[in-house]
Amino acid sequence: MNSAVKSRSPVPLKFGGSGGRGAASKLLLVWLALLAGWLAGQVALGPPAARAALYWFHGVRSKNVTLCFAGNAVTARPERVREIVGHLQQFQYAANVRFVTVDGTPAQDAAAAGGNLQKLACPAPTTVNGKSYYDGDIRVALWNTDVPVDPPGMVPGTGCTQERVGSSWSNPPDELDAKRPCQYNLKLGDDDLDMTGGQPGVHTGTPWLNHTLHEFGHALGLAHEHARADENAGCVNTGHSEYHAVSTGYITPYDKNSVMHYRFWPNEVPSCSGQTGTNYSNDGLTAYDRLALHLMYPEDVRVAEFTGKTVVKVGEALVLRSTLTQQGATAFALTNFQWKVDGVVKSTGDTLNTTFAGAGNHTVQFTYRDFLDRDYSSTFTVRVLSVADFNEQMAAVEEAQLLMMTSSLPTYVYLPTVVR
């Protein structure tokens, strides 16, 4: 043992000096002990548990997501492949995301009647740095194909570190590169169990639409809705490993009908009522699901969306509000609100409420930032009219509306001549 370790007195840390070497040795020992403890923890605890919130904190994908089906899925189960691609349209309707084949063909075109379904087959892997390299951002493995999906074991692929677990699962967006050596990174079962009547449930024979949306929701970056700590509907089994586990990442209010919410057995959640959605239903994306996806995958041109009217009378309040917060976007989802009127900041909240003393036009700029640090902006004109001008212009509009409405009525509907 060197002298420095023997010394009772603190020795200044001098890397390279004799006294410093002793201190450095001690520090090294402490550091090694820390490392050993950490490694022991990793071994003892195993891989991290699945985490959840609406946002998974694992990034989002690019707008164009290449999609393919592993193994012989397109020949062994062509109708299931077509069905899944049809379900994925819901994401394309809700958000600025497009599923395409590896060669860039829209997935729905390849799956359409007369389309070339083979384009949806995952290509054979290449080898990069001694590991398999599988093309396709989302590579789907289905049951009852030539792809091994049942546990135990690893997903095929040289260098793949993904275990075969559960009935269905998906890797998150930010694990795309790490899981390139794996033949598939999303396993989709044919889950069709109707659990609403209680155990043992009934197999309906038709896979749930929402089950597909659930797994692809993970693939797009959504996490388990039922894991939210603000869950307040009694629709989560209190004994579940994720029960109230997540307190951040809420893009929208809690939604018991979200496709990302598990269906629990009725006896596990006796106080849960009115639940129509969840991962085991055919209800599709909810309004909050769509809102979250719209926020995660915004339009190419980032327009700040607002609601309200931009023509007001002198003295009348101009009240404009963020459309997205009105729909339920949370303070986590959107921040840095700013409303400028003629270059002057009038509000830093999601609502602008101001009045104008005189008539005239004003330029309003509305900006905010989302939880992925993307900025949005809108610049528009607000017209402030004198009371007389306002009444005249609005009267003209109302008259035009009334004439158009009445002119379309059948002639046998009696209306006074003045109205006709």
Binding site: V5, K26, V30, A33, L34, A36, G37, W38, A40, G41, A44, L45, A50, R51, F57, E79, R80, E83, G86, Q90, Q92, Y93, W143, N144, G166, S167, S168, W169, S170, N171, E175, G189, D190, G201, H203, G205, T206, P207, V246, T248, Y262, D283, G284, R290, H294, E299, V301, V303, E305, F306, K309, T310, F380, Q393, V397, Q401, M404, M405, S407, S408
Partner: protein, 150 residues
Amino acid sequence: MFRSRSLRMVIVLGMAFLLGLAAAWLGQTDHVVAGTSQTSAPAPAAQAPDNNPADLAAPDAATWVTCTPNNVAAFSNRIHVRCNESYSGIRYFAYPTTNAAAAARYLSLLASAQVAGHTLSILYDPADSSGPAYGCAASDCRPIQAVALN
């Protein structure tokens, strides 16, 4: 405090080990660190091979969106509004003039909204592919199902 330096060192190393252990545990409960795949539960028993007819039809996806109109137009075969916002690339909403009465009603609301500075709520079905027949392009336009003046 300690009888020997060696004992003290052992205690320090032990504490460091425990600290490392705790860090590993905290690392797994942190919501922001790298994650892994999620399984869908409850996992049902394995099922027989799928031999069911495919259900290709997605459910009705009609949805309300907000529109700040910046252009309202009437053509011989359709009326349309163009919004500041877009939804999955859709920013035009149109209606065919084959139903003249409904087109007139929609047009009155669309024009009123633009003149009076109101935003609109528009109901449309993203899956509705009937628009191209009257000039409402599939790439950026969808047929109107309903309009509300906000």
